[in-house]
């Protein structure tokens, strides 16, 4: 299962890619594999302020519904509209076309300490 280098990870299996004052958030391949066929995704609207680890939305698979939590605080600048029509994109491309939201962020050095590197996340998943 791929754990992509250069991203930061939460214990709840979200990933975040930080590029300056912008961050892209998604869920990991481990998460989509565990959930199985993803059938529905609903996310907070653009403009919404979220705190770190605050609920960002819901992803449903055939069997279950799961809350998504924001790995960093920020303001949602855009939501992946493709997921409403094609939630299965999350299964096929969790680190690419299946991204969930983009955030406008400020300096997050403190919050980043609550997240894992790719290597740490890989070790963490092995313990589950």
């Amino acid at each position: 299962m791929e754990v992509r280098k250069g991203l930061l990870y939460s214990k709840e299996h979200e990933w975040v890619k930080i590029e300056g004052a912008k961050a892209t958030v998604g869920i990991t391949e481990y998460a989509v594999h565990t959930l199985g066929d993803i059938t529905f995704a609903e996310l907070s609207k653009p403009g919404t302020d979220v705190a770190q680890f605050e609920r960002l939305g819901t992803v449903e698979s055939v069997k279950t519904a799961s809350d998504i939590f924001s790995p960093l605080s920020g303001k949602i600048s855009s939501v992946n509209g493709k997921l409403a029509e094609s939630p299965e994109t999350l299964n096929s491309s969790p680190y690419g076309d299946g991204w969930l939201v983009k955030l406008d962020i400020e300096d997050k050095e403190e919050e980043k300490k609550n997240l894992m590197t790719a290597e740490q996340y890989e070790e963490y998943v092995k313990t589950l």
Binding site: G36, E42, V62, A65
Partner: protein, 377 residues
């Protein structure tokens, strides 16, 4: 994310759990396993949605060997078993099987089962895996003369379901099942060994249930899989298929505090004979009633959600899932018996949480929509 993430069964748990004789075959096929009724069972192979749709269009095979299989023998078997289940066993013709309930004195469901009339002095009873020990205690304490045998020591079960199932069984196993009517069964020679096959199932599709001798089970399974029309399906697809067909699952949609009348199963309660729980069913007004839900979106009602009618809590969802055929959420719920639910708009969810908009439909309407949508696909 993933407060409710499905737990992948760890090796340690796996060692303590029971496996069916097809476990290695499932592992080779890349199955993901789940604990069900004390067994390590395949949840899915290539994915629930694909497996589900394959069964509606072609032919799927399911390992259902975990289910409890009992044999009752003796001159008194029909009358004694008949006193325990809601089917009139004495009047069940040889070669016929019938869905029925084992009830407690309050009319609540101890288990649901299918009774097979093998001969006037021999009956097979097929029940749930998770309730097996309870069933053995319940049944054996109520038998005076009939002899109860645990058939799970030598018998497995494979469900062959889907519109092409009869063709597949004819071509692969050489069994001509054209003479069987729905809920009829017979004993056939399969791979040189006797095998009971019934025209029945738990998917809503045309299908058959095969009771194989253990030494032949894997050979039968692998032979069926070699046919291009056949794919294996796991318990995930079995659950979505039965839900689309409006079939309740014991332990989830029915329990010891639910009567078959509340579960909308009156036609499987034969009041022309005497059985445990009958008096309570006749005396008691149903407290709740089963309803079927169709979500207005892809979002699904879920087990444990409350049902709200006009903003007031009026019931609870017992099964809910995404319907691969309808591409919408569907569910089974119980609402208070007094609620006028026909065609009602309801919502499901948790108190204070987001609500999922659903309409109440009948079991017939639900499955008719499923069949129509499959025809279109």
């Amino acid at each position: 994310m993933c407060y409710f993430i499905t737990k992948i069964v760890s090796l340690q748990i796996g060692l303590a759990m029971k496996k069916t004789s097809l476990y290695n075959a499932h592992e080779r096929a890349g199955a993901r396993f789940v604990d069900f009724g004390g067994f390590l069972m395949p949840l899915q192979y290539e994915g629930i949605v694909k497996e589900h749709l394959w069964c509606r269009e072609s032919c799927s095979i399911f390992d259902t060997s975990h289910m409890a299989k009992f044999i009752l023998k003796g001159k008194e078997a029909a009358s004694e078993l008949g006193g325990i289940v809601t089917a009139d066993v004495k009047n069940l013709s040889e070669g016929r099987c019938r869905y029925c309930f084992i009830l407690n004195e309050k009319g609540g469901v101890v288990d649901d089962a299918v009774v097979y009339a093998v001969s006037p002095e021999e009956y097979m009873l097929v029940a749930n895996a998770g309730t097996k020990e309870k069933d053995i205690e319940w049944i054996s304490s109520r038998l005076a003369k009939a002899e109860l045998t645990d058939a799970d020591t030598f018998m497995d079960k494979i469900d062959v379901q889907g519109p092409l199932s009869a063709d597949v069984l004819r071509d692969v196993l050489g069994t001509d099942l054209s003479g069987l009517s729905f809920y009829g069964f017979g004993s056939y020679s399969v791979m040189g060994s006797g095998c009971i096959i019934s025209y029945s199932g738990y998917t809503g599709e045309r299908g058959y249930e095969l009771y194989t001798k253990r030494e032949k089970t894997e050979e039968v399974w692998e032979s069926l899989l070699r046919d291009g029309r056949v794919k294996p399906a796991g318990l995930g697809a079995r659950d979505t298929l039965r839900l689309e067909a409006g079939l309740p699952l014991y332990g989830q949609d029915m329990d010891e505090d639910t009567t078959p009348l509340e579960a909308g199963m009156k036609k499987f309660v034969d009041f022309s004979h005497d059985f445990t729980g009958r008096k309570a069913l006749e005396a008691k007004q149903p407290e709740k009633k089963i309803v079927f839900l169709l979500s207005s979106s892809r979002q699904s009602p879920r087990h444990g959600h409350d049902v709200f009618i006009g903003g007031a809590a009026a019931g609870v969802v017992t099964s809910g899932s995404f319907s691969p055929s309808l591409q919408r959420g569907i569910g089974i719920a119980y609402v208070n018996a007094g609620v006028d639910s026909g065609g009602a708009r309801v919502s499901t969810g948790t108190e204070g949480g987001a609500k999922i908009d659903c309409s109440v439909i009948t079991k017939k309407q639900l499955f008719a929509m499923v069949k129509t949508s499959c025809g279109k696909n």
